[in-house]
Amino acid sequence: MNKFIKIDYLPRVEGEGGIAIEIKDGRITRLHFKIFEAPRFFESFLKGRSYSEAMDFTARICGICPVAYQMSSVHAIEKIFGIEIEKPIHELRRLLYCGEWIESHALHIYLLQGPDFYGIESAWASRQYMPIAKKGLGFKKLGNQIMAILGGRAVHPVSVKVGGFYKTPERKALIAILPDLERAYGESIEGIKWAAGLPFNNNAWDMEYVSLRHVDEYPINEGHAVSNKGLDKSMDRFLEGIQEYQVEYSTALHAGIKRDTSVSPYLVGPISRLNLNNDKLPLEIKNAINESGIALPIKNTQMGIIARSVEMAYAFYEAIRIIREYEKPDSPFIDFTTKAGEAIWITEAPRGMLIHRYEIDEGGHVKSCTIVPPTSQNLGHIESDIFHFLKNNLDKSAEIIKKESEKIIRSYDPCISCSVHVTYS
């Protein structure tokens, strides 16, 4: 029996993509995750521009995770200039990123993926789901508030600067949201239990997860790249082990880990981070994981919602910690001189590792740059994942296959507008 399954325009994902699956005589003959989001060529525009514009330009790649872009670029450039940022700035940047994790995770958990488990078309399509959606909006709002205090607004904040921030917040302003954060933290722990209890498919398989790992902390802005299959590389070496390739049905490049004879897909994002770094979580959250009966490592990507819920709770935990310890630094940034050079930096965007490489000339202008967003790293993996699911479900109706594939894709929280920004290097 032949089946042809097509989704022109995936709903509840960020950006424009579709899927085409063809099954002939019990064999999968085509499986394309199509990205037709138009490319925007920002990397080319950055050539010749001042280093200081990199943060504002790359932020516009993605409205959902602009902070990630600002963080990867600012750190890469600081590395080139040999700037060592001070502890308070490190902490504030982590806080800013926590804001984005909360915002992005809450949006995905409660408003985008959540409805899948309730069989509804949107988060507001049923009365029963409304309280859950409201809760999500509540979390999301707090994430946004953190970003607004630190950066003026949640989408494309304006305060990040090479060497620190343009201006650091008053302690008063941060303390003011502490009670709300503390309450939300409690609720987010409950949220882990809720996520763990959702009905999942049984599409578990043996995959390779890659994330940053840091000696002291759950990775956000720093660390080195590791995987469960032995990969362990410093940030600057990571790209060497990666192969990017173009497929004719997509405006986004794919990426895989170069192995002896092949290029193998890998997974980045909350599942990878949690699987590889759960030892760095505070006890309270570890307990919540155990009490919810979550078995680590997570091997089913649909359970990304669990990993996201854990990380959201962690982001609240961290935000509270940082705010409690915060003292406004004397100067919002440190002085520096520009230098020529090249550097790679990776940070953990909500969807996974975001790689930036810059080459800067004597005058502080960008000579070349490479950006590898998490979603483009996941594209190959998404296809493998669906392939894996199909293999065991070839007998299912086209309708079911379509729905389930859509759900699998959605569980990655793919950021398609990001994914078309990847430079071939």
Partner: protein, 253 residues
């Protein structure tokens, strides 16, 4: 009374403006009381059908198929509102309008030929009639809800078209152009963001696009007096609203 039907559409963009709609947070639920969100791909599964009382369009036109789609959307809509720098001015991606698309493609793709895009990125208003343009990169969510309210109750949205300086001064921020010789675009930029950058002691970089009757020539001359080169001055304009600023600069000179 029937709730007006709303469609949210996306062209070439970062989704940030759509996210700003979600960032209305609990007010988003108020929005649902008043409007029927009949199409919003990023958040719901409902298919594209029928006509819309208000269509909200994010993103610029940068591919051939988008040119057709926008005409279709226009035909389905009573009012069409564009949101954000991409849709109202072509976005940051409109920087390609001043260069060679082939170079850009070559820089990014191993097989550039299969990338099918237009050589320009243009605002929606260059393709179809737009009833109202909401500026910003991203838009301000308050302005967005005010716009919808205005259409709902039948008035012109009262969103200012005057300079950012007005907003900056209302907030009591000392001018960084005057006190620090920072090249702030505030005097030629629309109010609407809440003077975020001046608040952070950072020169305005023009998220909200040119204000009405922007005297760009005169401001750039002042920047040159402050020591910027002519090229640096132009680069200041060449950001998310490059297309609109350059147009305003030409129109005024």
């Amino acid at each position: 009374m029937k709730r007006p039907r709303i469609g949210v559409f996306k062209f070439t963009s970062c989704d940030g403006c759509q996210l700003s709609i979600m960032n209305l947070e609990e007010k988003f639920l108020d929005l649902l009381e008043l409007f029927d969100i009949a199409y919003f791909r990023e958040t719901t599964d409902r298919p594209l059908t029928g006509h819309f009382d208000i269509s909200i369009v994010e993103g610029s036109i940068s591919t051939a198929w988008q040119k057709n789609d926008i005409v279709d959307i226009r035909e389905r809509s009573r009012y069409l509102i564009t949101i954000g720098a991409c849709a109202t001015a072509g976005g940051l991606q409109a920087l390609r309008n001043w260069g060679s698309i082939t170079d850009y493609k070559n820089y990014i793709y191993p097989s550039p030929v299969i990338i099918n895009v237009l050589s320009t990125s243009t605002p929606i208003s260059e393709h179809v009639y737009v009833d109202y343009e909401l500026w910003g990169c991203p838009i301000n969510e308050k302005a967005f809800s005010e716009t919808l309210i205005s259409f709902l109750i039948g008035k012109k949205p009262g969103i200012p078209i005057y300079s950012l300086c007005m907003e900056c001064k209302r907030m009591g921020l000392p001018c960084i152009l005057v006190s620090k010789s920072e090249p702030c675009l505030g005097p030629v930029t629309r109010a609407g963001c809440g003077a975020l950058c001046p608040y952070f002691q950072k020169p305005c970089y023009g998220c909200f696009g040119p204000k009405e009757d922007a005297n760009i020539e005169s401001l750039l001359k002042q920047f040159q007096n402050m020591g910027l080169t002519q090229k640096e001055c132009i680069l200041l304009l060449d950001k998310m609203n490059t297309y609109a600023y350059r147009k305003a600069k030409i129109e005024r000179s």
